[in-house]
């Protein structure tokens, strides 16, 4: 065997060498020092590996590390970042759209005159004056009772006259009835019915004492108008008949308060006080000393006060009796409500429900588009910032990788 053949056999894996080849290699090695060294190197190296033991710590360690990595990966497999990003985007869009929607941006122009809750208050001062001032005057009367009772002498002299006057005035009395009606009108034609009620009020000689409206006519904010009407009592029935025809009336209630006794009592007191005032004035004209003059002046003043008080109260009663109170709530209803009211067929109800849903979706979409356009300048600025940060991060990462490669 020559050195070349020996080299070829040396490069052949040991398992592929035949026993004959191995013997020939050993025989050649015994004669050739270089080849003997190469064979010795190879054999020693393999022996070294065969005798080497794998550290138990290594075996356990790499297994532990891949299991730890797997656990970490399982934990991080759930896409928290993505979900958070989507949630944040959703919240941003939803809040923006809701703000847009609630501010009425989605319906701006369409119902601009109805968007804000509006209160029209057309209080007739005279109407309530009697009631409110009555309370005030009662307390005032109590406060001034001392001064009123001071001229006992004079007061006593008029007591019998008062009683006589009351009895005289109670002969033929007209019943004083205060009527109050309250009902709700549900309608799909809100604007039309809103105007119609106003027209009816005018037509029947009534007036709107107060009007309060709310809602903007969108699916989630249906309109409502609360009327406080004063309708002449003589035409109340006719007005109610007309008003009931405006829409679907619900929650109807009516009450009557007989204020005759109070009214006529008040009237007799007023007449007494007026008679008393006349007498006092006559006495004043005949008074000769200062003390009498002063006492009469005070009595006249108190009497005048009571005359004013009773007059006011009576005016209040007159107003309440002459003009009945009518409280109307005009409520806008949507298609689904209308379907419920009319007991529509299933198909009609489905169609109405779909219509209502589409209307709502359309309004939400409008609100979203408006919000998006409104937020666009901010979004552009935000996108710019994000792009810059991303570019910086990528650049740094690139540099780091390049540095690692260079190493």
């Amino acid at each position: 065997m020559d050195c070349r053949t020996f080299s070829l056999l040396l490069d052949t894996p040991e398992a592929e060498r035949t026993p004959e080849q191995v013997r020939e290699m050993e025989a050649h090695a015994a004669e050739c020092r270089d080849c003997a060294l190469l064979l010795a190197i190879q054999r020693e190296m393999r022996c070294m590996d065969e005798e080497e033991e794998i550290p138990a710590a290594f075996s356990a360690s790499w297994r532990e590390r891949i299991r730890a990595e797997e656990e970490n990966k399982t934990m991080s497999r759930f896409p928290w970042k993505k979900i958070l990003a989507y949630a944040a985007a959703f919240v941003f869009v939803a809040v923006g759209t809701a703000v847009s929607y609630n501010n009425g941006w989605g319906t701006a122009g369409k119902t601009a005159n109805q968007t804000a809750a509006r209160t029209t208050y057309t209080n007739d001062g005279a109407a309530d004056y009697g009631v409110t001032s009555g309370t005030y005057l009662n307390s005032k009367a109590a406060g001034t009772s001392a001064s009123y009772e001071a001229p006992m002498m004079l007061a006593d002299s008029f007591a019998s006259e008062e009683m006589a006057a009351e009895e005289a005035s109670g002969v033929e009395r007209e019943a004083k009835i205060v009527r109050t009606v309250n009902f709700t009108v549900r309608t799909q034609q809100y604007e039309q019915d809103y105007d119609e009620i106003r027209m009816l009020v005018e037509e029947y000689g009534g007036r709107i004492e107060s009007l309060n409206t709310s809602g903007d006519g969108t699916a989630y904010s249906l309109r409502r108008a609360n009327y406080t009407l004063r309708i002449p009592s003589q035409r109340l029935e006719a007005f109610l008949d007309a008003a009931k025809g405006v829409g679907n009336v619900s929650n109807y209630s009516e009450s009557s308060e007989d204020v005759s006794e109070n009214y006529y009592d008040m009237q007799s007191r007023l007449e007494t006080q007026e008679a008393k005032l006349q007498r006092l004035n006559e006495m004043l004209a005949k008074a000769k000393n200062i003390s009498d003059l002063i006492e009469l002046e005070e009595a006249i003043s108190d009497t005048q006060y009571w005359i004013d008080y009773y007059t006011g109260r009576m005016r209040g009663y007159d107003s309440r009796v002459a003009d009945s109170y009518v409280y109307i709530t005009l409520r806008e209803i949507n298609n689904a409500d209308a379907a419920e009211q009319k007991e529509l067929s299933l198909g009609e109800r489905i169609v109405n429900a779909v219509k209502a849903s589409l209307e709502a979706a359309g309004e939400m979409l409008q609100a979203f588009v408006i919000f998006f356009i409104a937020a666009l300048p901010w979004l552009i600025v935000l996108a710019g910032i994000v792009l810059v940060i991303r570019a910086v991060v990528r650049s740094r990462r690139k540099h780091r990788k390049a540095a690692e490669k260079a190493e």
Binding site: L37, I41, E44, D49, P55, I66, E70
Partner: protein, 191 residues
């Protein structure tokens, strides 16, 4: 899903790698020279293999694939600590040839001496030659597989191996000659 796939990735990987674990560790040990470095590299190599196990399609032999990863990991580690693996530095840092733990009865003294010198010689080889020596002489892999692992041609494998063998022979011969001279000098002094 088959029963095999139902096992976790770590379990599947462990099963596939188990029979090559020793070879990977020894490859790293011969490449790095120190057991601590060998353990680190072998661990790193196995972790890298685990991370890219999903992309392993079985087109290549898994042993070739694993050895390639281990070899690249060692080369990368050696590049990072360039100079550390020179024999002088290794010795300064307390390098111990891997066989010194062996018991040293007198009859094996000569053999252990050869191993010590051989370890030193291998550590002194350039990295690219050392990896071929390790794969061929230690691991007894055929040329085509070595070429596949290192992604070089068989011709390059052969030429590098020949150069490495020459260096090893030279190193061992020089040491032997120096040792022989020293023995003669000592004998002369004593005489």
């Amino acid at each position: 899903m088959s029963l095999l796939n139902r096992r976790s990735k770590a379990e599947r990987f462990e099963a596939a790698v188990m029979q090559h674990e020793r070879g990977i560790y020894l490859l790293c040990l011969r490449m790095m020279g120190r057991r601590e470095d060998a353990e680190d590299c072998a661990q790193e190599a196995l972790l890298n293999a685990y991370r890219s196990y999903d992309s392993f399609r079985g087109e290549a032999d898994i042993k070739t694939w694993l050895y390639r990863i281990a070899s690249n990991t060692c080369m990368s580690a050696l590049r990072k600590h360039r100079g550390d693996s020179s024999l002088e530095v290794l010795r300064e840092e307390g390098f111990e040839p891997t066989d010194t733990r062996m018991p040293q009865p007198e009859r094996e003294a000569e053999r252990n001496d050869l191993r010590t010198r051989l370890s030193e010689a291998i550590a002194a080889l350039p990295d690219d030659q050392r990896e071929i020596v390790v794969l061929r002489e230690y691991q007894d892999l055929p040329y085509d597989q070595i070429a596949s692992i290192l992604e070089i041609s068989e011709g390059t494998v052969k030429s590098r191996l020949n150069r490495a063998r020459e260096k090893l022979k030279k190193y061992l011969t020089d040491v032997e000659q120096i040792g022989g001279k020293r023995v003669q000098e000592n004998e002369g002094r004593q005489g």
